[in-house]
């Protein structure tokens, strides 16, 4: 039966023939024209929490009349998706999420510099000198502790990084993996800055490793893990801890390390090759404004706002009372790949003592 051998060949031949016959379309080249809704409507890659993203886009549509939708994505996903479609990006603006991710996108040429007129109000330390991104909020890294769990363990609420090394806290600390989480990378870079070098920073993380229950993937997860009493202390941005307190995790308390702590700046940026650059710029102008920044506190997001005219809530951390380290975003962004690889190899994979 030679037919057995013939069939696959015929199949493949037919396949390619059919493929050709079906799809001969004169070369339309770039699909820009086929994009339904490509004109006059905006799509935001949003790095904040879902409810905040929704409020932001709704409010902008109300203010401007421009239909706006969003997809909630982590920084890594945003970069991956932008990177995969450089010429014809599906997003026009990236809003929210720590700017070390924006740094990665700038390096890959995915972001277009835009010096928004309203960015003039924002202090320089919250802006990229080359106008690639503008900061819209600030979060300080803190300890999110479960008081009930700590009481049971006989441990005081920590107020120093060294406190996290207490033997009584074995398996009682939750933090994220710095590779997946901007929050956890902030923790790691904070140690590097505080201790004067990558080796010294990793050395501290190595000691803390013995007390860590698990490295979560999401940066905010440690706060809720602590809130449910799974661990004593979670390392998160303090506004996340406040959010969980408000949602009913009453045992949570926020504290800050006295040696100094790191912080994030959440950004907004124009996506390169946006098909709606004019509308996108309008969105960015608006996102920087005090009105837009004030939306966060209506949905329980109490980040410190970068616009001096924005409202201050007593649920926000007063950055004057917290000792912030000198956080070099450019250096952190540049060191990230090698440093997280070292963390993964030298710490996360190691057995605990």
């Amino acid at each position: 039966m030679t037919n057995r051998r013939v069939l696959p060949v015929v199949g493949v031949a037919l396949t390619s023939m059919l493929a050709l016959s079906a799809c001969v379309v004169q070369d339309a080249q770039s699909g820009a024209a086929s994009g339904a809704g490509a004109s006059g409507s905006l799509t935001i890659a949003c790095g904040a929490m879902e409810d905040l993203c929704q409020k932001w886009t709704e409010a902008f549509t109300e203010a401007s009349g421009i239909p706006t939708s969003f997809v909630r994505l982590s920084s890594g996903e945003t970069v991956a998706r932008l990177d995969s479609a450089k010429d014809s990006p599906e997003f026009d603006v990236w809003h929210g999420g720590p700017v070390d991710g924006y740094g990665a996108a700038v390096e890959k040429g995915l972001i277009e510099a835009y010096d928004s007129p309203s960015a003039a109000d924002i202090p320089d330390k919250y802006k990229d000198p080359n106008h690639n991104w503008t900061g819209v909020y600030v979060g300080a890294l803190g300890f999110c502790s479960n008081k009930a769990v700590l009481d049971k363990l006989g441990v005081e609420v920590p107020d120093s990084w060294e406190d996290l090394l207490a033997p009584k806290l074995k398996g009682q600390i939750s933090t994220a993996h710095p590779s997946t989480s901007g929050t956890a990378f902030t923790t790691l870079w904070t140690q590097v800055s505080l201790r004067g070098g990558e080796d010294q920073g990793l050395d501290f993380m190595k000691k803390m490793h013995n007390n860590v229950l698990q490295y979560t993937k999401s940066g905010t997860a440690p706060g809720q893990i602590a809130g449910r009493g799974e661990v004593g202390v979670g390392l998160v941005f303090s506004h996340d801890c406040v959010k969980y307190q408000e949602q009913g995790m009453k045992d949570l308390v926020v504290s800050f390390p006295k040696e100094g702590t790191g912080y994030e700046v959440g950004g907004v940026a124009l996506v390169k090759n946006s098909k709606n650059a004019e509308a996108a710029k309008k969105y960015i102008d608006w996102a920087i404004s005090a009105d837009a920044q004030n939306i966060g506190q209506t949905v329980g997001s109490y980040q410190v706002l970068t616009n001096p005219a924005a409202k201050v809530s007593d649920k926000m951390v007063d950055l004057k009372t917290v000792k912030l380290i000198d956080y070099d975003f450019a250096a952190a962004s540049a060191a990230k790949p090698a440093l997280t690889a070292r963390f993964d190899e030298e710490i996360a994979a190691k057995p605990k003592e």
Binding site: A38, L73, E77, V79, S84, S88, A221
Partner: protein, 581 residues
């Protein structure tokens, strides 16, 4: 996808094969066209996206990972973890599925209809439901572990993953084994029994060996599902890093799709090995049991000494599954389960106030479109593999299975980089942009394709498992009586494998509704998908909202499956009792 189906070339489609030849089954032009069509579909569904990703895996960044994969201790640990997880979950899930299927098919116990429903719950639940519920119940401050028993268990890691994944995936084994048990020809068992063998001896030396292909198929499916799963290692994996979660870290943490592709390439190796092993094994020991000839009656286990212990174990297992899902439902109606147990409707208010409505409708509609396509495609592929193709059967089987063997993240990235711009080769545009916000239908088509790619292989596997039991003479008889390949398939083969087909449909829908890892890369503003909404709720720590979402998702899937079974149910008594659905 069907819109991409090309018109037939002129004159190539006689509907009747000449009835003069003996069994020239493979010359049948209709079959040739089917093979061509299926090849094209599989190529577009899986091979092309996968090829794009693999090309990226061999780019400099990816190659660096590939060459160093065995050099570092942490990489070796990840590979070992992945294999261990696959083997443990494959074994535990298959045993669990077989046990419950056996009880269902062969043991005389009350309440088996309810048991059947309980066994189906996990396939209709989104990936996070079990993990989230398990943490709430058995975590460090769990309701059962700590608040009731005063224990501190560490559920994070292999133990928790085994629990959660076995519980999530055992229904695959259950459905598979149930179909087989009901298809087994009782004549052999009767013969053994009448020769004086005890029920236990009959079970061990007659029944079990006939089920070997089913065991192999279940183990394979569970193995690849377990190692490809992303959601559970992220939620409950602890420090037990596996290749899928490492690939996720590479893409989402290190912004390195090349490294992610490289890890995924490594992930393919064990999946392929198991796949080949299973083919080899199953081909050596398949038992032809559906002969089309009249059969005897199945002997039920009726001895009290066997029924009581079996009943107790079954009851405990069923109670466990019910508890896990009751937690999801209760969790949807309280503030923070285990922390603040006050009754509230705010979880539902939150998701129904706008964030969830679109997602519910979009997800359901897209899954409904994908389901029949996936179900039929799975059966056609199975039929081609087992009955029609010889030399290329393995290749076809392999192509079909790829959609499931490849981790969802890889599929997602593959679709993203392949289909987010028009497919242009030379000066010809083959396809418009399918994925992403600016694509046709707002990217919905890509999501349907992913649904089909991910859910079709399970239908294919169960179809193959049940077709391997069908005597080839039935097919040949039909052909030699003048039926074309298509007629034989629809009139003879399909009715024979109806239970597998319905199982395939059911599973395809549930699978589509609950798939996550490829979807997170191709959701667009205009097509919101429930699982990715649930992910963001779990991510944000709002377990209550996640539970509410899961509850609604489960209700939708249950309703559609119930409706399917009413609509597709066969009126004839024999197939009804065999399908048991």
């Amino acid at each position: 996808m069907s819109s991409a189906a090309p018109p037939r070339p002129a004159g190539a489609a006689p509907t009747r094969a000449p009835a003069t030849t003996r069994t020239k089954v493979r010359q049948d032009p209709v079959t040739v066209i089917i093979v061509a069509l299926v090849s094209l579909i599989l190529f577009l569904l899986v091979l092309l996206p996968l090829g794009t990703v693999l090309a990226r895996a061999f780019s400099p960044d990816g190659a660096a990972v590939l060459t160093g994969i065995f050099d570092t201790a942490s990489h070796r640990a990840i590979i070992v973890n992945t294999l261990v997880l696959g083997i443990v979950v494959g074994t535990v899930g298959t045993v669990l599925g077989f046990f419950l299927a056996f009880v269902q098919a062969r043991v005389d116990l009350p309440g088996k209809k309810i048991l059947h429903l309980i066994c189906l719950i996990p396939i209709v639940s989104p990936p996070f439901a079990v993990a989230t519920s398990a943490i709430t119940l058995f975590g460090r401050n769990g309701i059962i572990s700590t608040q009731m028993l005063g224990q501190q268990w560490n559920i994070y890691g292999l133990s928790g993953l085994t629990l959660v994944l076995s519980l999530s995936f055992f229904p695959v084994a259950y459905m598979n084994m149930l179909g087989m048990l009901r298809n087994l020809d009782p004549a052999m068992e009767e013969a053994a029994a009448s020769l004086g063998a005890s029920p236990w001896t009959v079970f061990r030396s007659v029944t079990l060996p006939m089920l070997v292909p089913g065991f192999a198929a279940s183990f394979l499916l569970l193995f690849v599902e377990a190692i490809a799963d992303l959601a559970n290692p992220l939620v409950i994996g602890g420090d037990f890093t596996v290749l899928a979660s490492r690939a996720y870290i590479a893409v989402n943490g290190e912004y390195n799709t090349a490294a992610g592709s490289a890890y995924s390439l490594v992930l393919l190796v064990p999946a392929l090995l198991v796949f080949l092993l299973q083919r080899y094994w199953a081909s050596r020991s398949s038992a032809v049991t559906v002969t089309g000839k009249p059969t005897g009656r199945v002997r039920m286990v009726s001895a009290l000494a066997a029924r009581i212990p079996l009943g107790i174990v079954t009851a405990v297992l069923a109670l466990f599954v019910v508890t896990i899902y009751a937690t999801v439902i209760v969790g949807a109606f309280v503030n923070i389960l285990g922390v603040d147990n006050t009754f509230t409707l705010k979880n539902f208010e939150y998701i129904l106030s706008g964030i969830g409505n679109d997602a519910m409708i979009d997800t359901t509609v897209l899954a409904l479109i994908a389901t029949p396509i996936a179900g039929l495609l799975g059966m056609v592929v199975a039929w081609l593999v087992v009955v029609r193709l010889k030399a290329s059967a393995g290749l076809m089987d392999f192509l079909g299975m790829l959609g499931l063997s490849v981790p969802g993240t890889v599929i997602g990235i593959g679709y993203l980089i392949t289909y987010n711009k028009p497919l242009i080769i030379g000066r010809l545009q083959f396809l418009p942009a399918l994925a992403g916000g600016s694509a046709v239908f707002g990217g919905a088509l890509a999501i349907i394709l992913v649904y089909v790619a991910r859910s079709m292989p399970s239908g294919q596997r169960s179809g193959i498992a049940s077709l391997q039991q069908v005597d080839k003479s039935i097919d040949e008889a039909s052909t030699s009586l003048g039926a074309s390949g298509l007629q034989t398939f629809t009139r003879v083969t399909l009715p024979l494998i109806r239970p597998a087909f319905i199982a395939g449909l059911t599973y395809a829908f549930a699978r589509s509704m609950t798939t996550l890892s490829p979807i997170v890369f191709i959701t667009t503003p205009r097509t919101k998908i429930m699982t990715s909404q649930i992910l963001s709720e779990v991510d944000a720590g709002r377990f209550g909202n996640a539970f509410a979402f899961c509850t609604i998702l489960i209700v939708i899937v249950m309703a559609v499956i119930g409706l399917t079974n009413v609509l597709v149910r066969d009126r004839s008594v024999t197939s009804q009792s065999r399908a048991g659905l």
